[in-house]
């Protein structure tokens, strides 16, 4: 299998705090990887580096073997057309109705007319089980779970080859979280795309991902199949899964 996305020797620090320390991680095309780890271990930074929202201090991120960190911003935005992203808080545009949020890229980047963009947005909303009655509402009028589903519709509307999910179930009740996890898993499998999720939620990681990698102090300390999460003897994973206070991972207060 070919590698779709790769972090190669990536380091990132903020002031004196080293967040990523020579991170090496590759995701094969068509695979779904969940990145787990404690708070402040650099999961979100890893994602933002892949999206070009941050620049690494050392190393590079490769998308289809092309170094995205060396790209000009305009070229990076073009490369983003094959990428969908679901943000932790959905990050919907408050001033735009739901359909325009979902069709934002179609209208503003792809130059598709508003009528067609609206039709495609409503199709995408149906894929995340939201009816056309939601299309003209504003994000502020929706529940947290509905906002996440709109965010998911926005991420998948252009049939991207690569999907990112940043804490897709944070802030949701267990039932809504399970529904979102199943929806994401369904979409990823049906679209056959590559997916990278970052999460604290192990149930989410087990449902969404084929593979799980654990990030600790800026490096990958374990990687394996999702099914191995409960059987591995890796001390970091054991402590993270059991939630024990004692172990190699110090608690972040």
């Amino acid at each position: 299998m070919t590698v779709k996305l790769e972090w190669r020797g990536v380091s990132k620090r903020f002031g004196a705090q080293v967040v990523l320390d020579g991170l090496d991680l590759a995701v094969e095309r068509g695979r779904s990887l969940a990145l787990i780890g404690g708070s402040g271990q650099g999961k979100s930074v890893t994602l933002k580096l892949a999206l070009g929202l941050l620049q690494p201090d050392a190393g590079a991120v490769y998308l289809d073997s092309v170094d995205t960190t060396a790209m000009r911003p305009a070229d990076r935005r073009k490369a983003m057309r094959g990428i969908g992203m679901l943000f932790q808080g959905a990050a919907l545009f408050d001033s735009l109705p739901v359909w325009e949020n979902v069709g934002f890229r179609l209208i503003n980047a792809d130059g598709i007319n508003r009528r067609e963009a609206r039709a495609r947005a409503i199709e995408a909303l149906a894929l995340v089980r939201l009816g056309p009655d939601v299309a003209d509402r504003f994000p502020g009028e929706l529940s947290g779970g509905m906002q996440k589903r709109v965010g998911l519709a926005r991420a998948i509307v252009g049939a991207p080859e690569l999907l990112f999910f940043d804490e897709p179930t944070t802030g949701l009740d267990p039932i809504t979280a399970a529904a979102i996890n199943n929806l994401i898993a369904d979409r990823v499998r049906q679209m056959g795309c590559t997916a990278v999720s970052i999460t604290h939620d192990l149930a989410s990681a087990r449902t969404i991902a084929d593979e799980i990698a654990m990030l600790h102090q800026g490096r990958i300390v374990w990687r394996g199949a999702a099914a191995e999460l409960d059987t591995t003897d890796n001390a970091y994973v054991r402590q993270f899964v059991s939630g024990a206070a004692e172990g190699p991972i110090a608690a972040h207060w």
Binding site: M80, F93, D94, N108, A109
Partner: protein, 277 residues
């Protein structure tokens, strides 16, 4: 313990005296910080201007901002103009009365409004209404990752978010200034009709005969610069907002205060150029 950055300035073998150098360090840090901020602002302005004058444009966004900045500012700007024109007329009447010069009131009201008060008042009202709104909206969008989301949706926030606001503020302020000129003169005229029994037709004719084209044009040029300042400060401070509600609040305050100071400072500079005989 914090690192003592003054150590590198000392000659080898010299006794370290951080207490003595601390004020110098503070001044240096402040100066460097100020220069860096100025540089960042200039780079931001350059990128915004480039985005405003090169494709792709987002006409719907520009239209929305023209409505928000221009049309919706009309009531507040109009009321300010009317009361200022009326108060100015009262003051000039009272002052002119001391040396029997109250009859020049229409001319002084018109001159004061077109050259100075029209653009400055419209700009200050826009700084309070529009720069604050821009800073809070953009700051909140940054805090809630909406600007990051825009980047991931292959859209340049500088073109979609910043350039339309900057264009709208720059284009609308001269138009609002014209409105201030007309309404302000009308306010003065109503006072003159009440106090001096002035004939409105004569009042307007006197005003128009007295005013030169340059009186109005110089005010409009000022308004163009002030509009750019209001748009730039609102967008720049909003885009630098850090943290949550507190950061957004600080950005709003900084946007309004810096707009007002820059408007008044640039007004003096432009007046000193325009007012030369």
């Amino acid at each position: 313990m914090s690192e003592d950055t003054s150590a590198g300035l000392l000659a080898p073998g010299a006794t370290k005296s951080p207490g003595l150098l601390a004020p110098v360090n503070a001044i240096g840090r402040t100066a460097l910080g100020g220069v860096a901020m100025l540089g960042n602002c200039a780079l931001f302005a350059g990128a915004a201007i480039r985005a405003a004058f090169t494709p792709p444009w987002f006409p719907r966004q520009i239209g929305r901002q023209l409505m928000q900045v221009g049309f919706l500012s009309l009531p507040v700007v109009g009321l300010t103009a009317w009361f200022t024109g009326a108060a100015l007329a009262l003051n000039i009447y009272a002052g002119g009365d001391r040396f029997n010069a109250e009859t020049v009131m229409p001319q002084i009201v018109a001159l004061g409004l077109t050259r100075e008060l029209g653009p400055v008042l419209a700009a200050l009202m826009l700084a309070g209404r529009v720069a604050a709104a821009m800073a809070s909206e953009i700051g909140a969008m940054r805090a809630t990752e909406q600007i990051d989301a825009m980047e991931t949706l292959s859209t340049d926030p500088m073109r979609w978010l910043i350039a339309p606001r900057l264009l709208a503020a720059t284009l609308c302020l001269p138009l609002l200034t014209l409105v201030v000129d007309v309404i302000g003169v009308s306010g003065g005229m109503l006072v003159a009709m009440h106090l001096l029994d002035a004939n409105p037709v004569v009042y307007i004719r006197n005003t128009l005969d007295f005013l030169t084209r340059w009186d109005v044009e110089s005010g409009l040029i000022k308004a163009l610069v002030f509009g750019f300042i209001v748009g730039l400060m609102g967008c720049w401070h909003g885009s630098r907002a850090k943290g949550g509600a507190r950061g957004v609040g600080q950005a709003v305050t900084q946007a309004v205060v810096s707009s007002a100071i820059l408007i008044l400072a640039s007004d003096y500079l432009m007046t000193s150029v325009f007012a030369r005989p």
